[in-house]
Symmetry: C2
Subunit: 356 residues, 2 copies
Amino acid sequence: MTDQSPKPGHRIALDCMGGDLGPSEAVAGAALAIKEGSIGPADTIVLVGHEDNLRLLAQEHRALRGPRVAFRHAPGIVSPDDAPMTVLKSKRDSSMVIALEMLKEGEVDAVVSTGNTKALVAAGTIKVRPMEGAERPALAAIMPRREGHFIMLDVGANPEATPEHLVHNAVLGTIYAQSSLGIARPRVGLLTVGTEEGKGGPRINRAHALLKAMGDRINYVGPVEGFDVFGDACDVVVTDGFTGNVILKTIEGLVYMLRDLVGSKVKSNPVYLAGGVAMFPLLRELKGKLKPERYGGAPLLGLNGLVMKAHGSSNRQGIASAIRLGSEALGHGAGRRMRAALSDANAVISSTPAEG
Amino acid sequence: MTDQSPKPGHRIALDCMGGDLGPSEAVAGAALAIKEGSIGPADTIVLVGHEDNLRLLAQEHRALRGPRVAFRHAPGIVSPDDAPMTVLKSKRDSSMVIALEMLKEGEVDAVVSTGNTKALVAAGTIKVRPMEGAERPALAAIMPRREGHFIMLDVGANPEATPEHLVHNAVLGTIYAQSSLGIARPRVGLLTVGTEEGKGGPRINRAHALLKAMGDRINYVGPVEGFDVFGDACDVVVTDGFTGNVILKTIEGLVYMLRDLVGSKVKSNPVYLAGGVAMFPLLRELKGKLKPERYGGAPLLGLNGLVMKAHGSSNRQGIASAIRLGSEALGHGAGRRMRAALSDANAVISSTPAEG
């Protein structure tokens, strides 16, 4: 499936100014990505941010001395609290917006950003534009399950997804699961509240009918419920950006609560002491796993260029991992395959009568 | 707020045939409720199901020998897999449908059922009918948080809630939090994907505007995100039945996964052994806590009569607890207060222009 011919390298812009740990950690992440071979040998990284500062920081890393690193000056910074409209109107000189402009102009093939998710979704959509055949991008999270990982999308880009958007999510998620999880024929499930047909309302029913009509184009296994997602029911969980985002954040809240409960149990009851201390590493590991962007990055799928969101609190490993995921997706020619699959899906959608 | 004058007893119908543990556990739950004073001294329980069988089972419990227990014969059984329409069309002689008919006819004041949720929602709505001022019932779950509990509604009755339905959920949830959690002025949050105004789409924006327009009628604290719910942001989390149900089931799936991961860690790594063994009681406790109906029951709020769903796998304690919650809600005159509050809310809704 993959194009095996030698390719010129890809260029990945790294927005260095938006992360909680600041530009020094971003620069260290770029160095780690090159050192560990997270990107191909011909790929380059463009560090976007305050150039003098970034050049100074880069001197500390041997991996960044050479032709595989470039710099792009951007004096402004998007803060975690900036509203999307503020960013678009008055932060055009920010590292986030300038990186996205570079992607739009074809100067780079992908953008990796630790910045404010909502601003990135809005600015990415407006600057980079949806692919032909797509109307809205979808944020795809890689989540842990009993064995391995699954992909859930959309986790927050498009809260008001139509049935057609849900089909697009299925198509985009399938191709992303191939590049990121290495699953040849990922099973796709539609998240709903009951697996018998007719549950979940007209929007879900129409999406279900359309997904069935896709035939062999995707490996649709039918509706799935919330308790199925951590099992082995499917590899790609399709939902709208409202439900997906609420699920993600609720899970995050629950894991924090569990950690605190374990802590208080340990303090209140000596029987739990040994247990609690031993269990902390497991809970810490789970907490990390369950922050989806921690796995690497959550791409904004369906745009004319790859935009990869990394968690705001990503350390250098997290940033390198987001760069690696981006590079893998580019290497699989995912963009080209997504455009073809969307066009195919839209043909199915327009020939499937609303009666289902 | 509560009517303190002496009242005649309430009558609670217990659907004895739908639970996973069968009628003997249901009958034992009724006995426990009487023995432990879960219901008022003048309240009675009507055991609904195969009468000969129930009478035989009741003989084993001293608490059930007396005038506080009655029987109603119903030969049919609703199975966990029965589709709602099947139940309504061809299981009219079932213990679930007959108990609901008794509520409709005023023979009892409440129904407690361990039966199939979807069938109970559908049959409850059609037989008992929504209260004046409400269009659809909402299933309200009591969930654990760091300190105490909160209420989330709707967790599955009405997947396609309108902004007006969300306001009804806020009103119904407020009164239920008063009776079940004993909070005088429960804080109400609207579950969404971003706390700044304008996030979450037109449906959430309209609901937010209406909830603000409610003024002092409810204690609305604004939008809340998924990671807030287990903290102390609010006491009543308002959402639609699609999102609420998916969250509940995802949490359930996650807790099962955590239990399995702890189990496998214990097997794979001796460092975890002592810890894992000591932590099992905590995880078991959490798993129980996080099944919302386990706390007692999840009432279907907004109907002309109290319908209380208990978990299908409820043991006698769970059933007694659902009976207690139902009795408490009846004792607070919740139905009357809900009707008044809905009428008040609808006046606010119709006088709040759509521009918000």
